[in-house]
Amino acid sequence: MKLRSDHWLAYGMILPVVAAVLAFVVGPTYDVTTLSFTRFIMGQDRGFGGLVNFEALASDPQFATVLTNTGIWILGGTVLCVLLGMTVAVYLARDSKLTTFLRAIILLPWILPDVVTAMAWKWMLHGQVGIIGQTVTDLGLTERTISFLGDPDLVMWMLVAVVVWRKMPLVALILCAAIRSVPQEHYEAARLDGANSWQQFRFVVLPHISFSLTAVTVISMIWITAEFTLPWVMTGGGPANSSQIMATYIYQQSFQFFNWGVGSAMSVVNLVVLVMIVSLYLYVVRRSWRSGAAK
């Protein structure tokens, strides 16, 4: 009897979360999916359109560029975020006054508002008045100042650099906490077996933090996919669409061109691609995160 009442209590306690997920995740996802099959233009529902919005996407000469840029944005951003985050985490995990101080301030980029971050970087990277280009020129590395955000070959990588600067600290802090949770005995055992620093990291630390690493990688991927303000404020998708990514293109289609059907179709494509990438990643690292979750 007690077991039965516990059962209902448990359901009652998760009910708010389930309701929130239904209202804020499942509901909008359903709406967007429905819209993607609807001719919804200029605020008017023009009826079921089948695949017309997806066909419009396929024939859009810009869409291939958008997909390529999105690939650089998500994969480049995630890989660099996690690799750099891991490097910083390994350093921060050491005990010293400096690392204690750094652990306290590393979240500064994270807490700055998106628009402030975007505007600050935009001006620092500006070709005519930006301090970064000016410094590079003063050091004699270039003859003229570089327009980092105006150069189509550089702009995507500059955006990736800024998003990594912004997102990496939290990744580093989470991984740092995971690394610091590795029991000292494991290190001692490895040292007794003659393991060097790299081998200790590879065979002691990595298996221990694999669950955190997987989680933080997936979360980073989702964060970066959902990031809109930084690229939009810094470049608006330019120059010549060379930094147009899914997030900005969906916004442009939906809120500038008022073409909600195509905007929704793009959101569906975005969601499917993200689910596929995350699933593939989770499949590849399934052993490590399953063992981590079982701990």
Partner: protein, 438 residues
């Protein structure tokens, strides 16, 4: 059958009839209740004085609970669309005239003719007819303009001009290239123009293209006309200025919008810059800078297929009433307040706002005459608006302008020739327009 009626029943009956008929009549009463207003864009000083004048409105209309909000002009379409879809649109929207066809097409705004009543006569009396005309769409008045901006203009550093041996700003495209080259120094380009995707940057270019007989869209045929000779040759002018070495690098201009370009001019980092009529808006132009503004030079020979326009104009603080307003009486009261000379005179008494005033009273201002003598004399002669047209406005305008922005950037970056870039842009925009227009 005879109808018998005594005096008492006659009086009672006629009183009842009169009461009944009066019951159904609209009652003349002062507007009251809540009124929300969203204003988009404006120079910093305008952003200050608008709510300050609203205080006078509150004093004059104590029964109206005015709720005023200001937003950045570049996000107006998104904000208004979101408000409309969520049924939270303000009663009065102060946005750009270029938006009218799309907002009217959405049924977001309502024609004022139907709700303004006898206020219309006063508006016609106080507002310059050509400016009031910019609030019209398909024969109906959808907005009350307070001023217009015009495209395109040229700001010139007069000291730099004199140093190069010239005494007046260039008048033609070939002169512009010659002057820009002569004004160029190793650390200071002769001319700068904004080439980001910001709508104003595109409007600036449109002013040049339309003066060359170009058009971006043909409303009659539904055809995107970006690849016409008028637009192609105007973009070639941009390409030529870059090829002459008279501008900052193309990569710098694609990341520098109108506001930033104005600031660079004010800092002496460019000898000329191309903008709209508000060249001297307070984006940081210092007092000691000896500069002049003039209409953008004309093409040596017009090459476009359409009649050249002298200027494009758009009312960028036009008051519109939401179609879903629950308090249209108060909304009209607010519009009428802003149509009064006390408010309209602001743009004449403070020429640094650099708008082209909509109120007739503003043109009588001495300060305006001192600052913009050419404008005032042209206004007095009745020629100021000769050959001027509203900025392109049609359903899908942002699609075409977005494609145009991409083409401009491709040319500025040297990726494509104007013809290639504009042909591709026209095709892409046509596809989108066809989708939008069904």
């Amino acid at each position: 059958m005879s109808l018998r009626m005594n005096r008492r029943s006659f009086i009672a009956g006629s009183t009842a009839l009169a009461t009944a008929s009066l019951w159904g009549m609209p009652q003349a009463r002062a507007a009251s209740g809540a009124l929300s207003v969203w204003k988009f864009g404006g120079t910093p000083r305008e952003v200050e004085f608008w709510p300050a004048r609203d205080e006078a409105f509150r004093t004059a209309n104590p029964e109206i609970d005015l709720n005023y909000s200001y937003f950045n002009g570049q996000i107006r379409r998104q904000k208004i669309l979101a408000g409309f879809q969520t049924r939270n649109l303000a009663d009065v929207i102060i946005a750009f005239g270029q938006d009218i066809p799309e907002f009217a097409g959405f049924d977001m705004i309502q024609p004022l003719d139907a709700i303004a009543g006898d206020r219309l006569a006063g508006w016609r009396e106080r507002i310059v007819p050509e400016v009031l005309e910019t609030g019209m769409h398909e024969g109906q008045l959808y907005g009350l303009p307070t001023y217009v901006d015009m495209a395109s203009f040229l700001a010139v550093d007069m000291d730099a001009l004199a140093e190069a041996g010239f005494d007046a700003p260039p008048k033609t495209w070939s002169e512009l290239r010659e002057y820009a080259k002569a004004l160029t120094k190793p650390d200071r380009p002769g001319i700068a123009f904004p080439a980001t995707t910001a709508p104003v940057d595109i409007n600036i270019f449109e002013g040049i293209a339309y003066a060359n007989g170009g058009r971006i869209f043909d409303e009659e045929t539904g055809e995107v006309t970006l690849a016409g000779p008028g637009v192609v040759d105007a973009l070639q002018l941009y390409a030529d200025l870059i090829a002459d070495g008279s501008t900052p690098p193309g990569t710098a201009m694609t990341e520098t919008n109108f506001r930033d370009t104005a600031q660079l001019f004010a800092q002496g980092r460019a000898a000329m810059w191309i903008g709209l009529s508000w060249l001297n808006t307070p984006w940081g132009t210092p007092e000691e800078l000896n500069w002049a503004g003039s209409p953008f030079p004309r093409p040596d020979t017009v090459s476009g297929n359409y009649p050249p326009v002298s200027a494009l104009m758009d009312p960028t603080a036009i008051l519109m009433v939401s179609a879903r307003s629950e308090n249209p009486e108060a909304a009209i009261e607010y519009l009428d307040f802003w149509s009064q000379n006390e408010q309209l005179a602001l743009w004449g008494a403070a020429p640094e706002y650099s708008r082209i005033p909509g109120g007739k009273v503003a043109w009588e201002s001495e300060e305006l005459a001192n600052r913009w003598p050419d404008w005032v004399s042209a206004y007095n002669e009745g020629t100021l608006f000769d050959g001027a047209q509203p900025l392109p406005r049609f359903i899908g305008v942002s699609v075409v302008e977005s494609a145009l922005a991409t083409a401009i950037q491709q040319v500025v970056l040297g990726q494509q020739t104007p013809e290639e870039a504009l042909t591709a842009a026209a095709e892409a925009a046509q596809q989108q327009i066809d989708l939008l227009r069904g």
